[in-house]
């Protein structure tokens, strides 16, 4: 491997309220790569996404997460964002009374301030980029004056997550089931947003149940998670295989020994 590993998870064990969920996750995404993480419900995918951004409800009991060579586990969620991490949430929460424009301006300001190169937010540029991003995601301009996620349909929320990603320009993004609940047109639009970000300085982990989104976002690698561990990794063909056999047959197919849950 010639590239410097950008995003690395080593032997990660974690859980919630004493209940273990992740049982030794190892993952390595090189600079500029997009990986897909697949797996059945309850395999720990969303837990992993939340832990990467530092959700306070989860407890990491062992292991490390390295981003840009730095162990991020001791950092707060805001510091992780400043470092260039982003999570497109599976269920974005509503923030009543806070408009999309106000929220994004504030988020961008803190992203810039957190970047620490003394830049200032240019408001005209911000407005221009916001309009472009909204247009690309097929959201009406009027959405900027609506309260964040309040009364948005499921699809609108997902698109707004991608708008945020386009605006905040993270270096590594985790998309937590952004495709679920989207129709095919919305899926294509969301994929377009991710593809626009792709480049030598952007990496992503796409968490999904289905191979469908991977028709539009070509992953460099596919990983399969099962009972809190990554049990198989391979090229794009792995997702097609998975689609064919289904999760039910995953155990025999990949010869997994499952741990006895407590």
């Amino acid at each position: 491997m010639s590239k410097k590993p950008e995003f690395v998870i080593e032997d990660l064990h974690a859980g919630i309220e004493g209940r273990p969920i992740l049982r030794g996750v190892n993952l390595r995404v090189n600079v500029g790569e997009v990986h897909a993480l697949m797996g059945p419900n309850g395999s720990g995918k969303s837990t992993l996404a939340n832990i990467i951004l530092g959700h306070p409800a989860y407890e990491v009991t062992r292991g490390r997460i390295l981003f840009k060579g730095q162990d991020i586990l001791e950092l707060g969620a805001d510091e992780r964002a400043h470092l260039g991490l982003f999570l497109a949430f599976q269920y974005p929460v509503e923030i009543p009374g806070v408009t999309v424009a106000k929220f994004l301006k504030r988020a961008l300001e803190s992203r810039i301030a957190g970047g620490g190169n003394g830049e200032k937010l240019s408001v005209p540029k911000f407005i221009k980029e916001l309009k472009e991003s909204m247009k690309l995601m097929g959201l009406d301009e009027q959405f900027v004056n609506r309260y964040l996620n309040e009364g948005f349909s499921g699809g609108e929320k997902k698109r707004m997550e991608i708008v945020q990603m386009l605006m905040l320009k993270p270096e590594f993004a985790i998309l937590d089931e952004t495709d679920s609940g989207l129709d095919i047109d919305a899926l294509k639009i969301v994929a377009q947003g991710v593809n626009r970000m792709r480049g030598p300085n952007f990496g992503a982990l796409i968490i999904t149940h289905y191979q469908r989104i991977l028709n539009y976002i070509q992953p460099d690698k596919v990983h399969i998670m099962y009972e809190g561990r990554i049990v198989a990794s391979g090229g794009p063909e792995l997702s097609e295989e998975l689609e064919k056999y289904g999760y039910e047959n995953i155990r025999e197919k990949f010869g997994i020994e499952t741990q006895v849950s407590a």
């Binding site: 951004l53 806070v98 929220f103 803190s110």
Partner: protein, 474 residues
């Protein structure tokens, strides 16, 4: 995901002594100060100083009798620590009211400068009244409004110059016998505002009154009467602050509004008393046919506030709105809400109450919605939202609903929420610090009030909250 207690930064909502920005005081230099305590002599002294006609003096003395007879409210917050004998009922700061700020004594002018009143007047107000302890020390209205016949004076001036208007309406909307504190105010009232807007006149920019208590153990009892004649519009704004003392002060105002046919009156309050002030206020409006009355009531300061702005919808198609926002911080009780009484067909009302309680503060919504018998097409919507910032704080809701007609559409929603861990995490994952995230959620919560305010006040309110929140981090 379980609701784990999240550690929020120490957010102060502006009323604890070390954060309160307006707690400064000037030396007391009154030209007359009545003896402490309340009796006939004090009431007569007040009346003498104002050189009042006999009818007003009799009104006061009768109200004093009612005050003695009326019991303290047997509901709501505990007022037993309020000692009526330990209060100065009348402190006259100056001999003569100023028409320009130059005529106002230096120390008093300095106070209002610090509060930003002359500056605000220059920038965006149509008229200003400034009250210092018991008297209005400055009063002015823009010349063009005067020419249109708009009257904006202190009520003492109104008693002398417009006795017919005053006698017709004074004490009719809130009679002295309404409650103990209305009786008290009627007996010892001093200062406040009197507004008359002639038919069809639109006062496009707000009139403001500012109430400042300076003296220790002071009782401030201003009286406001607003008469909006047919088809007119006026927006009146009041602000209030006081120095921090270890002893209690009392503010007990009465506000009466008459909105005649097709008139619209908006009354905005940003109450930011220091933490030693009892704020016990009676505010009531009547809306005649097709008239609209809106109360926008922001309660941030005080020790105990009891205030329930009311609208009586007396004419067909009248509309009433009450938007109440309360912050209850450490040692504070905000017992606020609104009352709407539907007395005519096709009337509608909207009550929105938002409260935030923090550091052991108590915020209560207390509201009345009443619909008289045999009415048609009545609509009302009541929304109460409470945000509780920590385990030590509390919120209560006391909605009283009395409906005696059938053709009524009523919606009542009540929600109590905490700042959720999920919201804070979401915002933090976008780069906001924990305290910025909490601040954004709180600001969003009060947004419905803020967006109703004229921009300058919205900025002031946001600044007040944000300053206090920022100052408390780390």
């Amino acid at each position: 995901m379980k609701d784990k207690a999240i550690t929020l930064p120490d957010i102060d909502l502006g009323t604890s002594p070390d954060k309160y920005k307006y707690g400064f005081r000037q030396p007391e230099r009154s030209v007359f100060k009545a003896k402490k305590g309340l009796n006939r002599e004090v009431v007569m002294q007040i009346s003498d100083h104002k050189n009042e006609p006999d009818w007003m003096r009799r009104f006061r003395l009768k109200a004093l009798e009612i005050f003695y007879q009326k019991p303290m409210p047997n509901w709501g917050p505990d007022l037993s620590a309020l000692n009526f004998d330990d209060i100065y009922y009348y402190i006259k700061p100056v001999e003569k009211q100023g028409r320009s700020w130059e005529e106002v004594p230096e120390e008093i002018k300095d106070t209002f400068d610090k509060l930003g009143i002359p500056e605000a007047e220059r920038k965006f107000l149509a008229g200003v009244g400034a009250q210092y302890d018991s008297e209005v020390v400055y009063h002015n209205i823009r010349e063009e409004l005067k020419k249109k016949g708009v009257i904006f004076v202190d009520p003492e001036t109104a008693v002398q110059e417009y006795p017919d208007l005053v006698r017709e309406y004074f004490g009719t909307i809130v009679p002295p016998a309404d409650n103990k504190f209305a009786a008290l105010n009627s007996a010892v009232w001093s200062g406040g505002s009197f507004i008359y807007v002639p038919p069809g006149v639109q006062v496009d920019i707000p009139l403001q009154a500012y109430f400042r208590i300076n003296a220790r153990n002071m009782g401030q009892f201003e009286r406001t009467l607003i008469i909006a004649d047919e088809g007119s519009f006026v927006h009146y704004v009041e602000g209030c602050t006081a120095p921090i003392y270890t002893t209690d002060s009392l503010h007990s105002a009465v506000v009466e509004i008459i909105a005649k046919k097709g008139a619209r009156v908006r009354y905005t309050t940003i109450q930011n008393w220091s933490g030693n002030v009892y704020n016990l206020v009676t505010k009531r409006a009547v809306a005649h046919e097709e008239a609209t009355v809106e109360w926008v009531d922001g309660n941030i300061g005080s020790k105990i506030t009891m205030k329930y702005p009311a609208v009586y919808l007396l004419g067909r198609k009248a509309h009433g709105e009450i938007l109440s926002v309360a912050f209850a911080g450490k040692g504070q009780i905000q017992d606020t809400g609104g009352k709407v009484v539907h007395v005519a067909d096709d009337t509608s009302s909207l009550i929105t109450s938002k409260s935030i309680s923090k550091d052991g503060g108590q915020a209560s919504y207390r509201g009345l919605l009443k619909v008289y018998p045999h009415l048609k097409n009545i609509k009302s919507h009541v929304v109460c939202d409470a945000l509780i910032m920590d385990e030590a704080s509390r919120t209560d809701t006391y909605p009283y609903i009395e409906i005696e007609s059938d053709d009524v559409s009523i919606e009542h929603e009540a929600r109590v929420s905490k700042i959720s861990e999920e919201q804070v995490f979401y915002l933090m994952s976008r780069g906001l610090s924990e305290s910025e995230a909490a601040m954004m959620i709180v600001n969003g919560f009060i947004e419905p009030l803020v967006k109703q305010l004229p921009m300058e006040y919205a900025v002031e309110l946001n600044r007040l909250i944000e300053l206090e929140m920022e100052g408390s981090v780390g």
